[in-house]
Amino acid sequence: MTFPFLSVITFAPLVAGLGILLLPPERKDVARATALVTAAFTVLLSGLLYFGYDQAAGGFQFVEDVAWIPQLGIRYHMGVDGFSLPMLLLTGIVLLTGVMISWGVEDRAREYMAFFLILSVGVFGVFAALDLFLFFFLLEIAVFPKFLMIVVWGYPKTREYGGMKLTLYLFLASLVALVGVLALYAALPAGARSFGLLDLAAANFSPELQRWVFPLIFGGFAIMGAIFPLHSWAPDGHVAAPTAISMMLAGVEMKIGMYAALRLGVYLLPEGAKFWAPVIVVFALVNVIYAAYIALIQKDFKYIIGFSSVSHMGLVMLGFATLNPLGLTGAGLQMFSHGVMTALFFSIVGMVYDRAHTRMLPELGGLMQRMPWAGIAFLVGGFTSMGMPGFSGFVAEIPIYLGLWQGVALDPINLPGFMTTAWFFPLAAVISALSIVITAAYILLAVRRVFFGQLPAQLAELPDVSALDKVALGLLSGLMIVVGLYPAIMAPLVESGLRPVLQALGGG
């Protein structure tokens, strides 16, 4: 067996987190340094895997496979492919930048860093798990650190409500999906029952089964990606969370929902996906337009970002619903691009709030003079969000619109008539493209009201962001530009990871 890279990436934060908890509480500097080193280590290692992955060979690599609970066909099975590697890298980067911008946390700093690291354990592992039991095991490990971190360090006015709401919605999401997975598990012949992703993918479930299980699995994980009408936990929870947790939850946890919706939903149940794709389009369109509109009328800076995430996740779902290579690749890139972008946004909101002690747009303004780094980084994020060429958002969103334009209802039986007409997908493409305009509006509005205009007198002496903050901002904005200018660094890899999904769908 080769070196267990994936286990090391997954469990290094756990070991470091538990180690930090054993420190005396006053050694905050040691706690922070340990967290920083661990996070940098995971970035390094996931970068190593990212560039060490053999695209020509394809498939799952760096595999670890050990029997775990054999009575139920449960294995400790890990591996990554082109679809999961960018997510792994994203997790590492968000973890690292999250630690950097949390350097100033003084209240129980030891526990803060420890729980933040432990939270990342589940996130890393989920992207590497090839056994669905392992997947849920790691996914749910994140429940208590995220609940505790929101409730203890969150925004005092809404943390209890937001933390509870977010935790229960995410738990609901995973339970719905778990019921679907158990239905698949039970549908395997007795004696060959297994939770293995590959076993289930090879099982050829009957189309009837696929059609009724698909909404459970895809729908469950779509709740985790904040699908309308079960999206309200995301803005409420993310706004209530402390900055680093907002970054991790909006930047990565929502991507887990999308990642699993594709990997467990579309990949395992291609017939179900074909059947439900036009319905997903309808829901996702509401996400894209409605959430963007709500973002436009927010007065709270953080809520703008919260709703913008919901809107962008709708785009990812639209990409999935196309079921064609263009749309899926775009969705895969969008997951990475949006993860980096939203982490950047939330970190900037956090920096502004920490200094100005308000997030209300009317009370802010002219901050470009006081914190130019944050302002410029926000502009980069804003351009990405609008899908401007030269930024990663463009590389991700254009294929989604193109894929949607080409989309067809693959399983036209039993669908309402309008979903099978020739203009359904093109119309959806046009409507979703409208979101670019609304996005541009709310981003530019936020830019103008926060970073330009008159600097209010009480903010005149605002300190600039710290050096570590600048490193984090530079790293995140740099990534968006690199992927935007040189998409070949990621697009072919994502395409290679999606090939099995497309094969399952019968195309590609």
């Binding site: 203890v152 509870m164 935790t167 598990y185 039970a186 004696g191």
Partner: protein
């Protein structure tokens, strides 16, 4: 089953119980000979007795592959009995340890004496394969528990608790006894396996189906009380609230597990031919029990009552596994063992988990003087270790990994899914969500609230030991579940044949 007439070597199968009887005698002597101030060591003596019995169980009663009926078919020392015996002895040991420092009961020899007696009764509940033996052991453990629940003589609530428990218990026990008499009437034998063979399949053979089903119902009522299944649960909250907290812990785990041991034994050896009927009844009970338990738990302000309702809900999950038994076995696959294995696993992990929870509650209520959830406010600032232990217990009850509660629930749900009981899985999943809500509220109070008093909660050495063992157990059983699943499934197989 192969019935063997008595021979002296059979005594070895009762080695743990013999050790417990000796331990009871030692407690009695120590109680008489020690001065008032040294009596707190009695709890440690009792715990050592349970520990010695555990060792004896591991040394002498490891079941062989073929389990025969010993003592002329009175008892059967199989893996099922072994697993439950370990569970009772462990629960007894931890209860003795956490009762050691209790202001009133910790100094009373009678308390530990009766506790030991109750565990002896429970052990025989798991071992018995004969109606007479079974009834005697149920009564032996129950009467001891009635006395224990009422053992705080100064407290009205404790007296109410003991009396209420006794009245409910006596009534359901009568119903059960009536059922036993009918069983004897059908079969002309008191041996469970012979009765099972005589009853055979539903609708086949000489025994009419309807009276058998009525008998089945008496069994469900009688044992539904012990496992606090809805609608036989009304005693539980009041009894749990009034009883001394160590006994509440013991009732919620050991007594419930003992009820399940007998229920499994009777349903699977006496009524296997009627499984199509009783799994339906059990499924309905499971749905009612978990839903009502959780809905009522959400409204509690008192932590003991909250855990009482939570323990009712947990019984519902376990019944869900039992309901999953039938559909599987008919198509001839290994599923029946999954269902019963899941039940046994869940009982084991639930024992560990609930003991941790009650262990922390005892400490906190001792210094605050009440059992309100609000008293846990800011526990994480006063005693981070205790807060962490409570976190482990509550999250395990809520079914969050890496704690044992997660695999326990998943195992039950998987068994139910295999049995095509997906509607019950959905109900279980909704209940898991409801339950997580009220567990999270307690966690929030512990971690977010401001402590009224900054002083750390004092904890004695035996206590720390008990909490550590159980907390680490909860994690270990959850992560390295394989070997425990194996024992649980072997126990399940033993119940089946």
């Amino acid at each position: 089953m192969n019935i063997q007439p008595f021979e002296p070597s059979h005594l070895l199968a009762l080695a743990p119980e013999i050790v417990l009887v000796i331990s009871a005698a030692v407690i009695m002597l120590a109680d008489v000979n020690r001065g008032r101030e040294r009596k707190r060591e009695l709890g440690v003596v009792a715990a050592l007795g349970f520990g010695a019995a555990l060792v004896a169980a591991l040394l002498f009663t490891l079941p062989g592959l073929t389990a025969d009926g010993q003592f002329g078919g009175m008892i059967r020392n199989d893996t099922a009995a072994f697993a439950f015996r370990i569970l009772f002895l462990f629960a007894g040991m931890v209860t003795a340890l956490i009762a050691t420092d209790s202001p009133v009961i910790g100094k009373e020899g009678e308390f530990f004496l009766v506790l030991t007696g109750s565990v002896i009764g429970m052990n025989f509940m798991a071992l018995s394969t004969d109606l007479v033996m079974l009834y005697l052991s149920i009564e032996a453990s129950s009467i001891a528990l009635y006395a224990l629940a009422g053992s705080l003589r100064e407290s009205d609530k404790s007296a109410e608790s003991g009396l209420k428990y006794f009245l409910f218990g006596a009534f359901t026990s009568t119903v059960l006894l009536y059922g036993f008499s009918l069983l004897y009437g059908f079969a002309g034998s008191t041996n469970l396996y012979e009765i099972g063979a005589r009853l055979g399949e539903a609708g086949v053979g000489g025994v009419p189906t309807l009276p058998v089903i009525l008998t089945l119902l008496t069994v469900v009522v009688g044992l539904g009380f012990k496992i606090s299944a809805v609608p036989f649960h009304f005693w539980a909250p009041d009894v749990y609230e009034g009883a001394p907290t160590p006994i509440t812990a013991f009732l919620s785990v050991a007594s419930k597990a003992a009820g399940f041991a007998v229920l499994l034994r009777l349903l699977l050896t006496v009524f296997p031919g009627y499984a199509g009927i009783w799994t339906g009844i059990i499924a309905a009970l499971a749905l009612l029990t978990m839903t009502i338990g959780n809905l009522l738990a959400m409204q509690q302000r008192n932590i003991k009552r909250l855990l009482a309702y939570s323990s009712i809900a947990q019984a519902g999950y376990i019944l869900l596994g039992l309901a999953a038994y039938y559909n599987l076995n008919t198509d001839g696959n290994v599923g029946g063992e999954h269902a019963i294995g899941a039940v046994v696993y869940y009982l084991g992990m639930y024992t560990l988990t609930n003991l941790v929870a009650f262990g922390v509650i005892i400490l906190v209520s001792r210094i605050t003087g009440s059992d309100e959830i609000a008293d846990f406010s800011g526990l994480s600032r006063r005693s981070p270790g205790l807060a962490l232990a409570m976190l482990v217990a509550l999250l395990s009850l809520g079914g969050i990994p890496p704690l044992a509660g997660f695999f326990g629930k998943l195992y039950l749900f998987a068994a139910a899914a295999e049995a095509n009981l997906l509607w019950l899985v959905v109900a279980g999943a909704i209940n898991a969500l409801l339950a997580l809500y009220y567990y999270l509220i307690v966690i929030k109070v512990i971690y977010l609230g401001q402590p009224k008093d900054e002083a750390t909660v004092p904890v004695s050495r035996p206590y720390v030991f008990a909490l550590w063992v159980c907390s680490i157990g909860v994690i270990l059983v959850g992560v390295l579940a394989g070997p425990f699943v194996q024992i649980a499934q072997a126990a399940g197989t033993n119940f089946l044949r």
